[in-house]
Symmetry: D2
Subunit: 306 residues, 4 copies
């Protein structure tokens, strides 16, 4: 692909807001497809661009390959046609990632979200990562979105790798969960001529990301406050920054609480408060302690959401 | 001060752009007051709100206490009256910081910038830092600005400490060089009712910081491209975000190069290219290697500044 | 199990040296069972206590569950009966780890080595990890060895969790690859009354670990210099510390080179130099650059091994 | 000095145990020379090789240059002639370090301990540090000991710099407080032909350090349990490793408690329990909370020291 003309190809438009959906489990920790579908019906009324299935919040490392594919199938069936399914297909090895990407495409995903492999992080330099992503993108029948989430992987996809990969015609964008706004701005600056699209990986810096040229966000908090996150995005897109700022402020603490601070168990708990099915996580993730639960609630009440 | 009414007191307005000025040395590594004054005369034409004297870029850890005070005196004498002198007065111990703050005020500084003590960083929790800053602010005859610069100190001033300290009538704001935009937004959200003012600590995230409510910036790059950094700030203040974004993009790489990437020696080198006196650093800071020098130049040329 | 008497139960003796064997691949990246068996035959002459199959050096995150089990089966068949097979069975979820541990036992492993789950490392506190390991140990038909490898997982199994887990009758020891010798000494101090056994996770600190009470090591370098690592262990066990020290010195640089510095590709390269089958890694792991290859060789030649 | 013959020069023998003494303060936070002298008299009965004055535990960053020199003078006067005074003379700039080293020598110090400058840690590479230390050693009238303490400085003196500096005739050794035993062994391996001497920077890994070739230790805990730390060293020197191990075990938790865990305030508290003057620290260091105090006591009682 390095030989292709470097002018922008026509790429899938991925701009907009996505909740990286949680995976509900029964009390015996099996995937609860009934409750999952229920959530999807509720999400249908919210102006999401689509859903991310099996981002970090979907507990994908705890699902078998078969479960990962089955969940995507179920989501695609339950979702209106105009919503995108962006399916997490990242695995540690390139060959497994290629295979999983194809299975996700076959299951109906419009594009795949590929997290950086990370176990041998000391060896995951630009050379290794460019090779990995290029192989995946070369073979995938649907577009690829890069995914950098250092809080989980201990690894930030390097800028030079992103720039080179942005020239691949089958790589359409990046979900950046690191939140370094200087880096996000620089990525946009260096890749926009390729039509490369950057999505903020969290509601905490969604407005700032829009301000420097991002085109959307994959926001855990959108599982809980989906309408509000979409409203924030809309205010940014239409240049109503003063209103956006006030809304952004009130979303930061709830967002931090359901992500970095208390993690997926908190996200699922908050979903319950707002009428969705959250429920338990798979072990070893533990339920919140009572004290954490109280703290979590405060982050929503003190910002006027509960 | 915890007993004072929590309504906003009338605080010194620190909004605007500041270069944290470099300290020129002669080849024998003495402070070169002549070249310093020369730089100040050139800065006089740029719409800075003031100058930061002895931020990290001023090599203050390499100056004796006497030199620190003398430099502030010289700057105050050379600077037009309408420009603020914000003088770095932080030391490791509280008693030394109190004494240095008073000497800075006596030397003419309008306010002092107090970096977090950090040598015993494992013990510098909120309790210790609140105690430190409160003692300094209680005794200082000029307003205090908090200063968090984790790249140098290995320590981020905790949010809860900032919130509590924002209620002190003699603490007017914060210079945040960490660049975590979510944190910056949250700080503004939690302290603006006190009239507390947040300054971005770098040109790399200046626009994003303005977008979430910061009121200015202390930007190393302003030593080199002062007019442009001021223009960026002005575009943000007047809500011309699309123009701001284009300018912001072109400042990121030069900024990173003169700060995190190549440090003070690069800042001083770039100053030479743009007509200021930079010169050598005090040892142990070394001049750039030829290879680093080439890379540094590219960051300016490729963004259209050289 | 918290109810069991806390006196030491009779535990599997795991003392001694283990190479965490590499997994040879064909050029199409399939597992090369022929070359694997060849290596095993060569290892048979070395006084190893056993082999670790699917530690980090076995590229286990790149193997399918079926491959993981199949490799263990083949190793068990090829290995003399008096050598232990310690099989890596860790997965991210507790349920998958339980299942994999059972499959490993069925494939003939004498014990299982269970790495800390780590993807949600922010939530993997002592509570979560104790729960995880206790469930795995409760259900496993063979003894469990804990495995802490922060360089890959970004997570150190906390001391209090180790102490509590050391009381479980089916948890026999720990492989500690972190290399903090103070921590290793303290772990021995706090768990030896339970008969809990600590293995050094690297040849770099094998002698120091023995000096503070460890009983063996799982050493990547033993894939290459197996006889020498066993000799070092024997010198330590027999209290010939002065001779041990001289040998230890010469193993440090080669060990660092095939682990932290250049990783699995270097380990496999060095195996080729010493008459074993190493070969390529699965992608995304890349072959060494020529320059790294030269450096790697120097680490062996300058210490008198090549 | 690079031109000198690389055979070992006759160097000051620094082998043995040193407490890095604490600096007692009055309640108004002035140096309490009376209590300091009192401590020194008690230390005279313990077979220390000497004292370190103004290591990290001496709160040297909180002392003025004048106080630093004065304390060294007082210690030299109070100490028997056969004990070494190793005086911390490190400052951020090379010129200040040179000057302080001379003042320490003039005050009677037999050698100086020079911590790595660290504020601009991003620029403190081997080139800068070699230059710094070589200048200091060239000009110093007494031998220089390198000092690497990453917990405080965020910087580990690189191995290649140590190796090169070990060839300087006026650099006699290194205090390594990082505690990476693999690194310590490698440093000994690479520098012992020069007569370079390595001191462990903590009692927590003193035995392990001896096992790989260190010749002594600078141990905060020796302020409290000086006799016992000397006994541990003696057991190691005379090859009684089994007895050494038992004693080492019991020193780890008290040592961690007075260093990394609770810091200088804990060290000073423990000194009070054992008949020395500890007292308050200078602000911003805070006294221990009641809860920390209880925890600290447990670390001594549960190991049989209180």
């Amino acid at each position: 692909w390095r030989g292709v003309s470097q002018k922008a190809v026509q790429r899938l438009d991925i701009s907009g807001v996505y909740p990286p959906i949680a995976t509900p489990f029964t009390h015996s920790e099996d995937v609860d497809y009934h409750r999952l579908t229920d959530n999807l019906h509720k999400y249908a009324d919210i102006p999401f661009r689509g859903l991310v299935v099996q981002g970090s919040n979907g507990e994908y490392p705890y699902l078998t390959p078969e479960e990962r594919v089955e969940v995507v199938k179920k989501v695609r069936q339950a979702l209106p046609k105009d919503k995108l399914v962006m399916a997490g297909s990242g695995c540690e090895s390139t060959r497994a990632t290629i295979q999983m990407s194809q299975r996700m495409a076959d299951a109906g995903a419009e594009c795949v979200l590929v997290v950086t492999p990370c176990f041998y992080r000391g060896r995951m330099d630009s050379r290794a990562l460019i090779n990995h992503y290029a192989q995946v993108a070369d073979s995938s029948s649907v577009p690829v979105v890069l995914y950098s989430v250092p809080a989980n992987t201990g690894l930030d996809l390097p800028l030079d790798a992103i720039i080179q990969l942005s020239q691949h015609p089958n790589i359409v964008g990046l979900k950046d969960s690191g939140g370094d706004i200087t880096r996000i701005a620089l990525i946009v600056h260096k890749t926009r001529s390729q039509g490369f699209q950057v999505l903020a990986g969290s509601a905490g810096f969604l407005m700032a990301a829009y301000s420097v040229g991002a085109v959307g966000g994959v926001c855990a908090l959108a599982n809980v406050l989906g309408q509000q996150v979409c409203e924030l995005a809309q205010l940014c897109v239409s240049g109503r920054w003063d209103e956006a700022r006030e809304l952004q402020y009130r979303l930061i603490q709830p967002n931090t609480a359901v992500t970095r601070q208390y993690g997926v168990p908190a996200l699922k708990q908050a979903m319950e408060w707002f009428g969705y099915h959250g429920g338990v996580c798979r072990t070893p993730l533990q339920p919140l302690t009572d004290s954490d639960l109280d703290q979590l609630r405060v982050k929503f009440t003190s910002n006027g959401w509960l």
